[in-house]
Symmetry: C2
Subunit: 420 residues, 2 copies
C-alpha cells in the first residue's frame, strides 16, 4: 500500500456499541475515500464517553495522522464529541459568529426562535475550521496541529455525505497536495454457486492477476468477487481490470450477473429492457420485496408494469384469478398456486413476463409437509412457464431474501435464453 494516503475513521455513539444503530457511515466513507486515493487503515466505534473518544482519536492520530470522526455533534446533552476533541487539542470553545448568523437566518426564515440548545451548535473549538453544513444545524469541524488533522462530522447520514463531498474531500486532497493514486476496486456479482466451488473454478487465475488482488465476498445474495488495485495509476488499473474481468467472465459465463453494487433485480431489469420485455410480479410471502427491489433503481418504468401483493387467499382469487379449487386442493404454498399466480399476473397486467412467489416465511405457519422455509417460485416468459421449489433454513427475513434472490435468478435464466 505504498504511495497511498491513509486515514482512520471513528464512529462515536453508545447506540452503535449497544447495537441500536448500524454504522453505515463507515462503509460509505471508506468507499468515497478509497475512490479519492485515501486508504482507510482502520475503523473504530466508541461510546459517548470523553475518555474513550480521546483515547481512540489520539491513537488513530499517532498511527495515521488523519482521523475522521462521525457522530456526537447534536444539540443534546449526550453529544460530547466536540468538547472531548477540543480538550485533546487544548483548545477552549468559542462562539463562531458566522455560523450563529447562519442559524439565526435559517430559524427566522421559518418563523422560529433560536433556542439555547441550537445556539450551542455555533460553539466551536478555537481556531477550528468550520465546514458549512447545508443539510443540518451542526457544522463540520477540522482541527489540526503537528500530529495531523482531525475532522468532526455529524452522524446523520445525509448530512455526513453532503459535508464529505462539499468540504472534506477537497480539504484532504489539498492536504496531500494533488493527485493521489487511488485504491480502485472492481466487484463482480455472482448468484447460485457456493464460495468453495467458485474458488476451485477460478483459483488458478488469481496469481496471474497480480498486482491486483482478488477477494471472495459471500452474503445471502450470493458471492461477490472483488478485484482491487492498491495505488496503481488509474489508467493502468483500468486496463488490468478489463483483462481480469474478461478472464473471469470467460470462465464463469452468465453466473456473473452484474458489477459494482448492482442488485440482481436491476440486472434482471436490464436484460428485460434490452429485449423489450415487460414484467408483472405477484408476491405472497415476500410481500412486495421483489417489487421494491425492482424499483430501487430509476428507470423501472421501462419494464415493470405492475406488482401484486396478494397476501390473502381472496386477493389471489379476485385479482390474479387463482381458482378456489387450486387453493383448496394444493394449498396457497404449492406449485399449482405459484403457476396460477404467475399466469394470472401476466394476464391482468398484459405483460410479456411474470414472476410469482408463495411460501412459508415463518416463524408460524409451518407444517411437517411444508415446514417454514418452503417456497414455490414460478416465472413466465412468453409461452414458457417454469416453477421451482426451494427450502430455506433461517429466520423470516432470511427466507424472504433468499426467496426473492432465487425467483430473480430463475427469471434471469429464462430471459437470457430468450431469442431477441
Amino acid at each position: 500500500m505504498t504511495g497511498v494516503a491513509r486515514a482512520e475513521i471513528i464512529a462515536i455513539g453508545t447506540e452503535l456499541l449497544l447495537g441500536d444503530t448500524i454504522d453505515g457511515n463507515g462503509a460509505w466513507l471508506g468507499h468515497v475515500l478509497a475512490a479519492g486515493g485515501i486508504a482507510v487503515a482502520r475503523r473504530a466505534v466508541v461510546g459517548d464517553n470523553a475518555r474513550d473518544i480521546q483515547d481512540a482519536v489520539e491513537e488513530a492520530l499517532e498511527r495515521s495522522g488523519c482521523v475522521i470522526c462521525s457522530g456526537g455533534l447534536g444539540p443534546t446533552r449526550d453529544d460530547i464529541t466536540k468538547t472531548a476533541v477540543a480538550r485533546l487539542f487544548q483548545r477552549d470553545m468559542v462562539m463562531d459568529a458566522g455560523w450563529l448568523d447562519e442559524l439565526e437566518r435559517r430559524y427566522s426564515e421559518r418563523g422560529w426562535m433560536l433556542t439555547e440548545s441550537s445556539r450551542g451548535q455555533a460553539l466551536v473549538p478555537r481556531d477550528a475550521t468550520v465546514l458549512h453544513n447545508t443539510r443540518g444545524t451542526a457544522p463540520g469541524l477540522a482541527l489540526e496541529d503537528e500530529r495531523g488533522v482531525v475532522i468532526l462530522l455529524p452522524g446523520v447520514p445525509h448530512e455526513l455525505r453532503g459535508l464529505t463531498e462539499q468540504s472534506v474531500l477537497p480539504l484532504l486532497r489539498a492536504r496531500w497536495s494533488g493527485a493521489l493514486p487511488p485504491v480502485l476496486s472492481l466487484r463482480l456479482r455472482t448468484a447460485g454457486v457456493p464460495e468453495s466451488v467458485l474458488a476451485e473454478g477460478i483459483d488458478d487465475l488469481v496469481d496471474g492477476f497480480a498486482p491486483l488482488t482478488l477477494a471472495y465476498l459471500p452474503s445471502s445474495e450470493g458471492v461477490d468477487l472483488r478485484l482491487t488495485s492498491w495505488g496503481l495509476p488509474e489508467a493502468e488499473a483500468r486496463t488490468r481490470f478489463t483483462v481480469a474481468e474478461a478472464e473471469l467472465r470467460t470462465r464463469l459465463g452468465p453466473v456473473i450477473y452484474g458489477s459494482g453494487a448492482e442488485d440482481l433485480a436491476a440486472a434482471v431489469g436490464r436484460e428485460l429492457v434490452a429485449r423489450g420485455l415487460t414484467l408483472a410480479v405477484a408476491e405472497s410471502c415476500t410481500g412486495g420485496l421483489v417489487a421494491k427491489r425492482l424499483t430501487d433503481a430509476p428507470g423501472a418504468s421501462e419494464f415493470l408494469i405492475e406488482g401484486f401483493v396478494t397476501y390473502a387467499n381472496e386477493a389471489k382469487q379476485n385479482t390474479l384469478g387463482v381458482a378456489a379449487a387450486v387453493l383448496v386442493k394444493h394449498g396457497a404454498v404449492s406449485e399449482a398456486t405459484a403457476r396460477a399466480m404467475a399466469l394470472g399476473a401476466r394476464a391482468r397486467a398484459g405483460t410479456d413476463c411474470a414472476l410469482s412467489i408463495t411460501g412459508v416465511a415463518g416463524p408460524d405457519g409451518g407444517t411437517v409437509e411444508k415446514p417454514v422455509g418452503t417456497v414455490w417460485i414460478a416465472a413466465a416468459v412468453h409461452d414458457r412457464l417454469e416453477a421451482r421449489r426451494i427450502n430455506v433454513l433461517g429466520d423470516r427475513a432470511h427466507v424472504r431474501d433468499r426467496s426473492a434472490q432465487a425467483a430473480l435468478t430463475l427469471l434471469r435464466d429464462m430471459v437470457l435464453e430468450t431469442v431477441t
Copy 2:
C-alpha cells in the same frame, strides 16, 4: 460501568474498510452481549492483513481481556484470521479430527467430494476450543492464555448468530461465572418531531431518570429515545424503565409510536388489528416498500389483504380505476390521483382502510412545478379520506423512505382517531 463485564469486537475484512460491505454483525453482537451483561467497550474494523489483525487483537486483549473477532475464516486465500491470531498466541496449526469427520460426513451426505480448500477448514490453532458451526463449514474457535480470551467467528451473519447463541454466550457466561448485571435499554420511537423540539419538551425530566441515562437517536425514520441502565439489577432497572416510560408518554402522547426495534409499519398493523380493520395499499413511487415493511413482521395477514404496485399509468387505470381524465388533467403525481388510488385500492380489495403514495422519486422526472421529492399521499379510513403533499430533499432512496414514513404516520393518526 462498574460491575460490568467488558468485551471488544473486531471485524476483519478489507471489504469492510473499502465500503463494499456494511458491518451489521457488530451491532447485532453489541445487542446480544449487552443483554447478556457484557458491555462492548469498543469495536474496530481492520483489513485482511496479518499485522493489522494482530495489532488490533493485541491492543483489545490488553485493554479488555476479551475479544470477539468476526470474518476471515473462509476457505479462500484472503482468509487469514485463524493463522494470524494463532501466531499471536504462538500456537501452530493442527488438523482437528472431530471437525474433519464432521465435514466428511456432511459432504458425503450430499454426494460431494471433500475438496482440499474445504479440508483446510478443519485446521485449527493447537489447544483452541472448537465451536460447532451447524450452519457452515468454518468452526468457531476460542483461544485463551493469561492475557484473556479471543473468540473467532465466521463473518457470514447467520453463521455468526447461530454460533454466538449456541456457543459464545454460554462460554462467556461461564467465564464471568454466573449472573452478570446486564446493560439494559428501553428504546421509544417517535416520528414527525425534530430532535431539538423533542429535547426541549422533555429535557427537564432527564435528571430525574438517573441513574438511567437518556439518549436521542435521530434517523430518517424519526427520533428514538433510548433509556439505558448500566449494570443495575434487572428487576430494579425494569421498575425504573416503567416509571420513566410513563413520564415520557404522558409528556409526548401519541408521538411515541412504539418501542424496541418496532417499525412504524408494525405499529400501524397493531392499531389496525386492535380495531379489527383491514388494509389495502396502492404504491407508485415507493414500488412495494410500504407493503414490504407491513409484511416484515409475522401476522400481517391479520390486516393486510392486498397491495398494488401500480407503477405504470395503465395499471393505475386498469387495476385501481383511476380515471384517464384525472391522470391527463392533474398528472400521476397529484392530489386527485392519490385520492383516486386510495379509493380504488379500497374498493378492489374490499377493505376498511387504504393508503396510497404517488411521487417523483428521482433522479429523473422532476419539473419546475413538481421537482424531484414531490410526493402525494392519501389515506382512507371508513368514510374519511385525507391527502397530504410532502416535499423531500435527498436522493431516490431517501425520498422513498421518507414518503413511506409520512404515509404510515398519516394512516396511524387517522386510525388512532377512529372510535372502536
